[in-house]
């Protein structure tokens, strides 16, 4: 036992715990134990989320840089082609063609060559049919006996005599590629380095911008429309509040596709809104309002669909605001508006924050509703991601687009945290 003085200090002046160890160490040990206990409690859920959510999504997003298909299908060719200098403007020599033939004969036997052709077709149009057709004719070649191959291959398909083909192969030889990420921002990797896509193919950056801006507009309109409803819910009698809550939740429980299709019926040229306005006489029959297949349609339909996500957090925060503050403000001479704006509203901001995050992040990822009512001007980036997953099978590009979207959302979340503070977000 060290020398403990009467007021709990040892010889050096450090504060001691009851069993004589320095307080700092004892405290640290206790805190560690507490954290470990908390971690063990959370562990099952954490492992579940890691295995079923983070790991699979991580694997999918890692496709955005994977390019081992080229090196795996044509190993020798890739090695020999690495030594070729494309800037001379001359075709590779016989060594490359021979290695290519050896690799192709094996790949054709395993039926892997067409898959490589499809992948390379994303970079240079025409390679998929080239690989497919060459595969049929190269099946019968003997890699040893039929040398030399340069002229034979060019005879099989003239694309093998095109220097651009070999440049593309060389550019995409690596196991990892930045090509998909460059494509995701309207650029592409050429043998000479990075270059912007030709202007008639530039669409993705515009779509990113449009998605973000429209999501902000949707969030704003949800706040405008949702705040009065949440205030009503929080301030009327409980019986009426329950009725109103059911009215808010009932559409929420209806199928998304049904709600979106209902908006089609409402907003069409011959739809309900236009028919009523023409019947009243506000709108001439020949010049009906165009409410659908544009950005307006997307904003209206998405606001309707995401409104419950805004109302419910705001409502639960507003429920916790004691009405006594408003009465106190009024008793001190504030007008109704001043009392609301300077006393009530600041207390409800955390609810607005929670609702906004939910609505914004949800609306960035939506693609069904913009697909149905958005026409061409109201589509989001998620529609392109869906296209690349389902139709073009360019999963590398889809993964790159998804990664960029994830990074943008995380960046906005971080900015929100710095400006407003996440601790200011309450769900009730």
């Amino acid at each position: 036992m060290s020398d403990i003085s009467a007021d709990g200090l040892d010889a050096n002046g450090l504060v001691l715990a009851a069993d004589g160890t320095p307080l700092k160490r004892s405290l640290a040990r206790a805190m560690r134990r507490q954290k470990l206990r908390a971690l063990l409690l959370v562990a099952p859920l954490l492992i579940f989320v890691l295995l079923t959510f983070i790991y699979p999504i991580g694997v999918m997003l890692s496709r955005s840089v994977q390019n081992d298909i080229v090196a795996n299908t044509l190993p020798e060719t890739v090695r020999v082609l690495g030594r070729w200098d494309a800037s001379t403007g001359e075709l590779p020599d016989e060594e490359v063609y021979a290695a290519f033939t050896r690799d192709m004969v094996i790949a054709i036997a395993d039926k892997k060559h067409t898959r490589l052709g499809s992948r390379l077709n994303y970079e240079k149009t025409g390679l998929s049919s080239m690989f497919r057709q060459s595969g049929r004719k190269m099946k019968k070649l003997d890699p040893v006996a039929d040398a030399p191959f340069k002229d034979k291959l060019i005879g099989i398909h003239k694309g093998w005599g095109d220097i651009e083909t070999w440049k593309t192969l060389q550019t995409y030889s690596g196991i990892y590629t930045s090509g998909y990420f460059l494509n995701a921002v309207d650029a592409h990797m050429t043998p000479e380095g990075m270059a912007w896509q030709p202007e008639d193919k530039q669409i993705l950056l515009k779509l990113f911008g449009r998605t973000l801006i429209m999501s902000l507009i949707i969030t704003g309109s949800c706040i405008m429309l949702g705040y009065p409803i949440a205030w009503l819910l929080a301030n009327v009698s409980p019986r009426n509040a329950n009725l109103l809550l059911i009215l808010v939740l009932l559409p929420f429980w209806t199928s998304l596709l049904v709600r979106t299709s209902a908006w089609k019926v409402m907003l069409q040229q011959n739809g309900v809104i236009n028919e009523v306005l023409v019947w009243i006489g506000l709108v001439p029959d020949a010049d009906r309002l165009i409410l659908i297949n544009n950005q307006f349609g997307t904003i209206v339909a998405m606001t309707h669909i995401l409104l419950p996500f805004m109302i419910l957090p705001m409502y639960s925060v507003m429920q916790t605001i004691p009405p006594v503050y408003l009465r106190a403000a009024k008793s001190m001479g504030a007008t109704n508006w001043t009392a609301f704006w300077r006393v009530y509203f600041p207390q409800s901001v955390p609810g607005i924050g929670a609702g906004s995050i939910l609505v914004f992040i949800l609306s960035i990822g939506y693609y069904i509703t913009p697909e149905i009512v958005g026409g061409t001007k109201g589509v989001f980036i998620s529609n392109r991601i869906a296209y690349h997953i389902s139709s073009s099978l360019n999963w590398g590009l889809a993964a790159a687009l998804g990664t960029i979207l994830l990074v943008v959302v995380l960046a906005l979340y971080w900015a929100y945290d710095r400006i407003v503070g996440i601790d200011n977000v309450k769900l009730g």
Binding site: K201, Q202, N270
Partner: protein
């Protein structure tokens, strides 16, 4: 004690269920994937029900053909292919074959001969566009128009779509470049056999987009086959493109004031593929089903339910009347000589190469 009993019972049931699929050398249950709606109903009537009755097999229907390519790739990577036979369009079949996800089919040994002895490879002829693909029907993407909204002269050529002066009003076109680019070039003066050569060049693509630009403000773009008939029924569009079977349903079954504009219809093929990665029993059952479902009589039977032409030459004379409406189906087939005066066959090789590139340009143009 109760828990042990329950556990034992559950285990026994699971083992028994697993043995359902091992009936000798062919499985007794199969999952067939198709497109849903009237098309799936026609397959059920013509193929699934007779086959299930004759062989005592349970057939489970799945309507995921629209997502078939992506899902098959995901299944194959997971090592768990749950589908036995999949209905896809020919372009998807070529894509699946390229990716090694579809089994290669030898037409002469795996498909039935025609009743007069012709081998399957001859009976299908040029429609065997891929080694992995078994064609089933010929359908076409073509136009329908509202007879009461087009004015006095009915449109007769596809260029009426681009003529907003003679036929004012909105049109419905598919939200992808395929077919639209060909029609645009055709109506911009390019000869029919030169269309794909022109479309392969940058200038050709710009020319097609420029022609589409002249009607861009009047177009509603559809992505589902059911959109155009709905738009025509609502009067939102004056004419619109869709699959001919949908228009048949709208005209003959729903009695809408719509007529067909068959000019420059684009033929496409819809058929079966068998995924790779199936166990021997499931593969044997799938091949047995294919042998039955693609023979001459069966393909003619499907035409009783839906107005798509059978892919076999020997099936054409056997096409009879609609099952419920009782009308003659032959005049409604896209392959009927009256309708097929000016047709395109979907150029699979061209679009397999150029689809991604031209689609990027098309979507960028759409977004402007």
């Amino acid at each position: 004690m109760k828990l042990t009993k329950t556990l034992l019972a559950t285990t026994a049931l699971t083992v028994a269920a697993g043995m359902v699929n091992a009936d000798g050398h062919m499985s007794s249950e199969m999952t067939i994937v198709s497109w849903g709606g009237a098309y799936s109903a026609s397959q059920k009537g013509a193929y699934h029900d007779p086959y299930a009755e004759a062989n005592g097999v349970t057939i489970i229907n799945d309507d995921s053909s629209a997502e078939a390519v992506a899902k098959l790739r995901a299944m194959s990577e997971a090592g768990n292919v749950t589908w036995d036979v999949v209905d896809v369009v020919a372009a998807d079949a070529i894509r699946l074959c390229d990716e090694g996800l579809a089994m290669e089919i030898d037409a002469d040994t795996m498909l039935a001969d025609a009743p007069d002895g012709t081998k399957a490879s001859e009976d299908f002829g040029d429609l065997l566009v891929s080694d992995c693909f078994i064609p089933q029907i010929v359908y076409s993407t073509t136009f329908g128009y509202r007879t009461d909204l087009v004015g006095d002269t009915a449109p007769t050529t596809v260029c009426a779509v681009f003529d907003t002066e003679a036929y004012p009003g909105k049109r419905a076109l598919e939200k992808r470049p395929i077919n639209n680019m060909e029609w645009a070039l055709l109506c911009d003066g390019v000869a029919k056999d030169a269309v794909y050569d022109v479309l392969a060049t940058q200038e050709g693509q710009d020319q097609a987009l420029a022609k589409l630009d002249t009607i861009k403000d009047d177009v509603i773009w559809w992505s589902a086959g059911a959109d155009t008939p709905q738009l025509l029924a609502d009067g939102e569009v004056v004419m619109g493109s869709t699959y001919n079977g949908r228009l048949f349903a709208a005209i003959e079954e729903q009695k809408l004031p719509v007529a067909m504009l068959w000019d420059a219809q684009v033929f496409d093929l819809d058929g079966w593929i068998i995924p790779t990665g199936l166990s021997p029993e499931r593969q044997a059952r799938a091949l047995d089903y294919i042998m039955f479902a693609t023979d001459t009589q069966r393909l003619a039977d499907q035409a009783q339910y839906i107005s798509y032409g059978p892919a076999r030459k020997s099936s054409a004379p056997l096409v009879g009347k609609h099952k419920t409406l009782g009308i003659d189906m032959a005049p409604h087939m896209p392959t009927d000589p009256n309708n097929a005066t000016n047709t395109f066959l979907y150029n699979y090789v061209f679009w397999a190469d150029y689809r991604d590139d031209i689609d990027a340009k098309f979507q960028a143009w759409l977004a402007k």
